[in-house]
Every structure is written in C-alpha cells, then in structure tokens.
Symmetry: C2
Subunit: 315 residues, 2 copies
C-alpha cells in the first residue's frame, strides 16, 4: 500500500476525513499501522482524557453529549470514543446511543468513534489507546471514553483516563453495589444522574455516607458526588467545572503524570505480549499441530508442551 | 513447600478437603502449581463440561441447582464452577447465588467453587480450566460452568464447554438481542426460563422464528428451545435429557473432539503468552524503567521501545 507518512502532518481537528482514514489504517494492525503509530505518538500527549462509565441506562451518552456541548461553547474540541464491550444481553443499547450522539457528531470540533471490543484479544486497551493517540495528535483538547461498566471495561477505561466519572442513577440501588465492588478506587467524580427521581435524595445520602465512612481519597483528592439531570442539561456546568478542577489538581500534584507513566509501561508490555503471541503461533504452528494429538490423548500436558516451546525462546 | 505429588492419587470425588487444597495450590501460580497441573492433566478429560450463561436474573443458579439434583439422582457426581466476572453494577448477584447454592453444596458428590475473574490478566480461561482439570481428575462426571453473560465471559465459557446452555427470560426482550449479538453461535441449547410469565409464549415464538429464519445449525445440531420453570423444577428433566442427547451427538460426530482439540491449542498458546509476559517484565524492568522517561517525553514511542525489547527475544 502506498502511504506517505508526511500526510500525517495534515492531521487536524478540522480534517475529519483524514482522521477517519488514519484510524482505519491504525486499526488494520499491519506494519503500516505501526509506522503511523510511531509518528503519531510524537504529537500526542496534549489531550485531556476523560472516562465516563456506569450501568446501562444511567444516561452516560446524554451526559457525554452535554459535556461536549459545553466544552464546545468554550471553544474546545472534543473527540468521543464509545467503547462497546457488547454484552449480548445489552446489545441494543449502544446503537441507540449512537443515534442520540448524531446531533453533535456533525458539528465542527467534534469527532465520534465507536469501537466494539467483544472477542478481541488483549482486551480493549491497546486498540482504544491507539485511536485515542490519533485523536490526540490531531489536536483535540479532550478525548472522552464512554463505556458501559460490565466486567472489565470500566477498569480498563479508568487506567487510561486522567479523570474518571462514574455515573449512577437513584433507583437502581447501584450506589451501594458500586461501593462494594470497588468502584471507589476508580472514580474521581461520582455523578448521580436523573436526580429528579423520587429516590434521589436517599441515594445521594447513602452514597455520601458510604464515601465518608470509607474515607475515600485518591491521593488527597476526595471524589465529589454531583447531582445532574442530563436530559434537562442541569448540573452539567458544575460537572465540567469539577472536571477542570480535578485536571488542575491532577497536574499540580504528580497524580496524573505518575498515572500516565504507569500506563505507558503497561502499554509497552501489552504491545510486546500481543506481538509475541502472533510470532509464537506463526513459528510453532507445526509443532503444536503435531503435538496436539499427544496432548489430546493425555500423554503430554499443555504445560509440558508450553515449556518445550518456551525453551526455544531466548531472552 | 513440601508437597509429594503422590498425594494426587488420593484425589477423589469424596475427598473434598484434598480437592480444595489442590485447587488452592493450583491457583497460587507458582512452580508447584505447574507440577501439579502436569500430573493432574493425565487423569483429566473424562468429565463432561456444561456451560450455563445468560443475563442477570435469568435463574441460572436455580437451574444449575436443579440440573445438579437430577444428575445426582442418576448417581452422577457434579462439580460447579461459578465464574464471576463481577460487574461492579451487578456485584451482589453472585453472593445471593452462593447462598442459594448452599443447599446442594453440602451434599456428597457435589463440589462448588466460585472464581472471581475481574481484573485478572488473560481473562478467565487459564485459571478456570486449570480448576476444571482438577475436578475432572478427581473423577466428577460433570463439570458445570455457570457465568453471567457480560462482555466476554460467555464467549470464554462456550469455548471450554462441550454443551453450552443460554438461559433467557420472557420479559426482558433478551431473545431478540441475543439473536443480534451472535449468541446463536455459542448456544447448543436455549432455555426460556420463568416460562409461566405472561410474555412467555410470545418470547418463545419470536425466538423460534428467528432461529428458523436464520437457519442456525451447529454442525448439523439444531439448537432446541426448552421452556423451564426452574423454581418449580418444571422442564428440568427434559433439559437434562436434551443435554445427554447433545452429548451423544457431540461424541458421535467429531464436533466435541474437534472443539476440545481446538481449545487445547489455544490453551497452550495462552500458557506460553502468560509465562512470557512475566519473563518480559522480569528481564526488562530496568530497561523499561529507564526508557519510560523518553517515552513519556515523546522522544520514543511505545512501539519503538517494544520493538527494541522484541529484538532481544530469539525464536
């Protein structure tokens, strides 16, 4: 394929077509993708990364929309990455989200991208972060990762986000579950959305008590709880102010820098691991194919065969 | 640690204490664990592996209970592995399950084990299958994997199960979502549980129509839809009969053998990958630590550093 990496200089917030093309190339996972990612990386690191997670139906997309509109009104550019772990039992949700997102998707200074991660090896991190790098290098001020919190995805998002927002709703009783399941470890800001619902005050108080009791503090940052009504655009100004406050805190302290460095380490190891997996399969497929009969008949254990192959790999 | 692998000869369905101890050792991921797993593997391969998945609240645990009781009445032994991907937003569900399971957990010929997989590297497969091997080697006739279908867990379970049961409930509208999200690719048997609910007939027909239209067939096996009321123990006899029917089909055709072989291959590569990851971290931590500053300042890309490390690994 002919591709001049000089074209990457034309990558910008305004050039949606080129952005889309570069992302497609990056997703293709061939050698060209690696070349592009190396170039892209040089220009990245300036976008502020926000993670928004929560249960299905908590209003994450509406909230993302409203935050985006507010940031746009402040002359900021926003890229949204909707990460879809596609639970088969909530498969339809994100489709609806995408339709709702369309009202901002056409605006200048906004770019929206959905990624399906179900069934992908190595989880969502590598692919998602590659795309974030492209958008970062294009010059977007903010990259928002939005994902439904199922299983693993919210942990991955929290790793790559500078500010992680956990969105809850009053009636679901999620607040207490969230506390139990260690969501406090990932939330920099809690949002209690749909706070006009009858149960809202009760949910707010219970959340606050739990936070207080557990004395949660992320490196001296006390995660606040904000009430919003995203559909009515209420509470969104306060939320964006709180995000900026956390950003300032995060950069003044070493929290953000440290976290970003930690994640870079993990990312490097992830890249190595994925590459090695491909190489192992490529260079041992014959050995595995012939030995698998012995494994299948229980004469050889998977661990013994793995050892045999590992012995041929020299560090 | 002193451990004589001869003790593994004493592993049996009746020896719950030893079984628990071996599983703990296997989970510890040290060298002893590998030695045990190699020994254990020789005796494994005889248990029939059933996967049960579905959305939260579909009654998977009750169904597992009832299937287990029926199999016990046929003088079979049953091990249950409850795989918990622990969505933070459904964190409490499995706890309740475990309480419910206690009424069979104390019986002879039953062994129940829960595994939390959230945050674990390499997903659930390696650990889960190691434990399944121990139970298989102990002589259990059936190993049932039960997991809530969120994100990735149901795909992993389907890979290691000989028969995969997808449990749905009438009112959730899951049936159509399930169709969309490719659950048909993993289901050998569909169960429509809580089939006394008003919407049951409609859901059944819609599921049947979709299956028929899409002409789903797993290597000439047409996944049936069974109606159950697990709480009332209705439809369970038919379900167990269908499982046995699928088992016979699976062994008469090469489906099961082929699938087991395919999975063994993947498992070997998973083991190699996890081991390599540890080795990479161990033997490159200094290089990564010193280079990370250059990566952080954007002078070096993660891909370039990964390449550098990969170049030192020889196949």
């Amino acid at each position: 394929m002919k591709f001049d990496t000089k074209i990457l200089n034309k990558l910008s917030v305004g050039n949606k077509k080129l952005t889309a093309r570069i992302i497609s190339l990056v997703e293709s996972e061939n050698d060209l993708a690696i070349d592009i990612l190396k170039e892209i990386f040089k220009k990245s690191g300036n976008a502020y990364r926000i993670g928004i997670t929560g249960p299905p139906g908590a209003g994450k997309s509406t909230l993302t929309n409203q935050i985006t509109k507010l940031l746009l009104s402040q002359n900021k550019s926003v890229a949204i990455i909707a990460v879809d772990p596609t639970s088969p039992f909530s498969g339809g949700a994100l489709l609806g989200d995408r339709v709702r997102m369309n009202d901002i998707g056409m605006l200048d200074n906004v770019y929206i991208r959905s990624i399906a991660t179900r069934g992908s090896l190595g989880g969502l991190s590598t692919k998602t972060i590659d795309i974030a790098d492209v958008l970062d290098a294009a010059g977007f001020d903010f990259v928002i990762f939005e994902t439904v919190g199922v299983g693993q995805s919210e942990l991955d998002i929290a790793k790559i986000a500078d500010t992680t927002i956990v969105t809850l709703v009053p009636e679901s009783g999620d607040s207490i579950q969230a506390m139990k399941a260690g969501l406090m470890e990932i939330a920099d800001i809690f949002v209690l959305n749909k706070s006009d619902r009858p149960e809202a005050d009760k949910a707010f108080n219970s959340l606050q008590t739990t936070l207080h009791l557990q004395n949660v503090s992320q490196n001296n940052w006390n995660p606040p709880i904000l009430k919003t009504k995203a559909l009515l655009n209420e509470g969104v100004t306060e939320l964006v102010e709180k995000i900026i406050e956390h950003r300032n805190f995060c950069f003044e302290n070493i929290t953000c820098a440290k976290k970003r460095k930690e994640y870079l380490k993990e990312r490097i190891i992830d890249i190595i691991e994925l590459t090695l997996r491909k190489r192992i399969v490529a260079s041992n497929s014959q050995l595995i194919d012939t030995s698998i009969l012995d494994v299948n008949s229980r004469e050889l254990s998977p661990y013994s065969l793995a050892e045999k192959i590992l012995n041929n790999i020299k560090f």
